[in-house]
Structures are given as C-alpha cells and as structure tokens.
Symmetry: C2
Subunit: 258 residues, 2 copies
C-alpha cells in the first residue's frame, strides 16, 4: 500500500556497492577538472586528494569498475572520465522535471550544474495558476494540471520535488503514476513510494541538526577535558544510560519546538 520504502531496499547494485556509487560523481568531478587542465594521467593518491577521500578507498572503488589503471603510472584521465560517465549513465540524456517553482525550485532551475552532465530540465511545474507561462531560467512554468502529459510526452523518469511539505506526497504519487521512477525530494517529508522507485532526499534542516549535534559535543568535550577524562572506557551504553535516566524532571527549556 502506501507503506512504501524510502531509498533502496537493497536488491544489491549488481556488483557495485552503494557507497562506491555515491563516490563516483566525486571522482568524476575531480577528473573533469583535470581533463580541463589537460592533465593526461593521475595517480590514485593525487586523484584521491582532489576528491577528498583516501587512496585505498579510491582504488578499491575503481576495482569494482574494472582494471582501468596502469601500475607504476596511474590512470588515464580521459579514459576514466568516459568509463565513470558510462557507469553512471551520463552518456545518455536525462530529461528532468522540477515541481514547485518557489524560491528553491527557481534556484534549482537556474543552477548550472543541472544542465551539464546529461541532465536537462524538460519542464518546470507549479500549482499556482499565476505562475503559468512565466519563464524561470528561460523555461516557461506550466501548471500542475499538465503534469501527466509532460511526463509522458518527454519520457521523463527523474523528478525533482521542491514543493512545500504538505504537497510533496501528492505530487510524488502523481509523478510515479505517470511513470517517474526516480525522485529527488527537497521537501521535508518522508515520501512513500512503491517498490522499484528510488527516492533520495536533500534536507537542509536535517543536515543542520547533525552539525549541531557534533557542535554540541565539541563544547562538551572541552568541559570534560577540564574535569579529567575519567569516563572514557566505560561501556558507552551504561554511561549514556546514566545521563539519560536523570532526564525526566526539570523544565522543558525555552527555545524548543516541542
């Protein structure tokens, strides 16, 4: 039913680990930069530094694609660019629709990296009739009524949702019904989709909250250092438990959402 899955369940990426797939675009970007500077070959060490990973990981990643390097020399930049592009499916053209042309949707439409690398903005869609016909990033906005027709006419399989949270699931359902099988979701909601549909989410506030967690820990650590670092070494669960259990009472601090 509506109890669909987010992300991939895990039917296994036919040999290429998901973690590796997620890094291929990073390698590709670094390689493209080298290619533009006409660098002919690059070592795993150099490329890894440019991509912000370590070289062992990079070599392991590449080993899933095949043996594309030359021992003692390194990797041929152009060749690798091609191989990774092909592996990622970027040698073909992907028409994409963006639904929800508010601030964010407009920013996405204007984003250059979108147009490059095999992705083409096939249409912009918004529910506001006042937006219809108005060009954003040179593309006229179309009304949501046209959604199904647009998807089918353009053979769109990738959709970007940049609507308010409340509209996201509904838009998602319509996209999927019309044939979209990959969704990039910017709305702060969990989307339910049937099996076989991939959803990836980009969520500003989640990222910030993760940063806040670590930020808080940094502050805490300084304090702990002052008090003598006695606690480390005790089974983590027990320690947590302790501080957690003391929680209940006291006031709920001011700032919170609750």
């Amino acid at each position: 039913m509506a109890t669909g899955r987010t992300h991939r369940p895990a039917t296994r990426s036919r040999g290429i680990p998901e973690a590796t797939v997620a890094r291929l675009p990073l390698y590709l970007r670094a390689l493209t930069a080298l290619s533009e500077r006409s660098v002919p070959t690059v070592s795993s060490e150099e490329l890894a530094a440019a991509a912000g990973v370590n070289s062992a990981k990079l070599r392991k990643d590449f080993s899933y694609l095949g043996s594309y390097g030359t021992r003692g020399v390194g990797y041929d930049v152009e060749y690798l660019v091609y191989q990774i592009s092909r592996e990622l499916g970027l040698t073909q053209d992907w028409p994409v629709v963006i639904v929800g042309i508010g601030n964010l949707g407009a920013a996405l439409a204007n984003y250059g990296g979108f147009a490059s690398r095999g992705f083409r903005v096939a249409a912009l869609i918004d529910a506001d009739p006042a937006m219809a016909g108005k060009p954003v990033a040179g593309i006229p906005v179309q009304h949501t009524d046209e959604l199904e027709k647009i998807i089918e006419d353009n053979g769109v399989s990738i959709g970007v949702i940049a609507t308010p949270a409340g509209a996201a699931q509904q838009v998602c359902d319509r996209l999927v019904a019309a044939g979209v099988t990959s969704i990039l979701n910017f709305a702060p909601t969990v989307l339910s989709v049937p099996d076989g549909v991939d959803v990836r989410k980009v969520d500003l506030s989640i990222e910030l909250q993760i940063l806040a967690f670590h930020e808080q820990r940094k502050a805490g650590e300084e304090a702990a250092a002052a008090a003598g670092a006695a606690v480390d070494g005790i089974p983590a669960a027990a320690v947590r438990k302790q501080s957690a259990d003391k929680g209940p009472d006291g006031d709920v601090p001011a700032v919170m959402p609750a």
Copy 2:
C-alpha cells in the same frame, strides 16, 4: 597542511553511532507532528513507519540514548521530543550565517525550517557590493568584508556556504579562521578544513547522478530479464571484471551499463 578532511574522521561519537545521529532528526520531525496532533504515546512500529525506517532500527537507535520507552505501551511523545532535542543540541540557540546570497542563498534564507528548531539566521553575507544593505527574507545583506566581525560579534559556530564553487574554499578558510567549526556546503567543491571542523555537503548534481545510475540499472535489468537471468549467482566481482575488461574498444552498447 591544507590537506584537511571532509566529514568526520571518526573519533567516535561518544557512544552514539553516526548512522543513528543522522536519523534522530527524522524521528524528531515525526514526533513533532504527533505532538501537534496531541498524540500522547507511540509504538516503535508506528513511529518507525512515520519516519520511514523499520522498527528494529528505531528501537536500536533509541537504545543508544537510554531506556525511554515503556514495554507493552510505547514511547511518550513529548518526553521523547525533549530527549532527542536535547541530544541533538537543539535546546540551545544556534546562530548561523549564510554566505553567498544568490538564488540558492536567498532560497535558504527564506526557508522556514531554518528559523525553527533552534537555528537562527544571524547574518547574510555576499561579495557583491550592490547587494549590501538589500534585505533578503527581512535580513539586510552584509558585505564579505564584515565576515570576521559578524562571526565574532554573534558567536557564530555554524556557517552555510552557498557561493559559486570558485569562491567556496576561500570563504571556508575565512569562516574557519574566524571561529566557525561546522560548515554546510552547497557549493560543488571539496572543501579542505583543519581537524576539528565538520563539513557536510549538499550536492544536487551528485544526487542526480546517483539516481541516474540506478535508473540506468533498471533499464538494464528489464533487458537482462528478457535474455534469461543466467548471470546471477556467479561471484559479482568476476562478472564485473569480465564485462569491464572488454570495455576499451568498440561501440558503446545501447542499453546496458556493461
């Protein structure tokens, strides 16, 4: 030297696994929704469904925080909201600066979820003198010259980079030098930062490329199914290798990843 790290090396999150931390904001959002509907308690099964994970994972995650549930009953919504908020450091106020007020920066400034949940946009900063003084989302944009002063005056420890790729590293360096220790990077570049500084990146084109990879596989699988699914069961590495090694020559196959 400048060869800093992206993400966290992994000094271990004081007992709470990184994967769990990344899900806490999801739980928090689902709980907040329940709280608004005045739902008093929730089972791991229900909450997991709302957050888009499975219940075993959720219970395991919560077990790292402490024993906050009641067997046979479930979890108290309000209490959990508070505990998770506290764990994430959201019971305090985090002033944030956004650097780069283009399309995306403006969209971020306008994004509501920003203001809620303990984050406050302390300042908007842009390098364009023409922007200075212009209000965006009700906040006047300030010039990059003021960056250091703004950070220090407001005690900012979290910065958001929404500049073009070319400017990102430079902005990052200045933020870090001024005292920022957590960065959310929207620019499509790898940032180098010293140890102790956290960077998280949000990258539209990487997400799209990952979707394209899976999308391509879906197409390939249909073709493979037609040809009789003989290959499954052979050690994945060997299969990969084989098809990969044939790569160099010849035409790019029509449907398949190869």
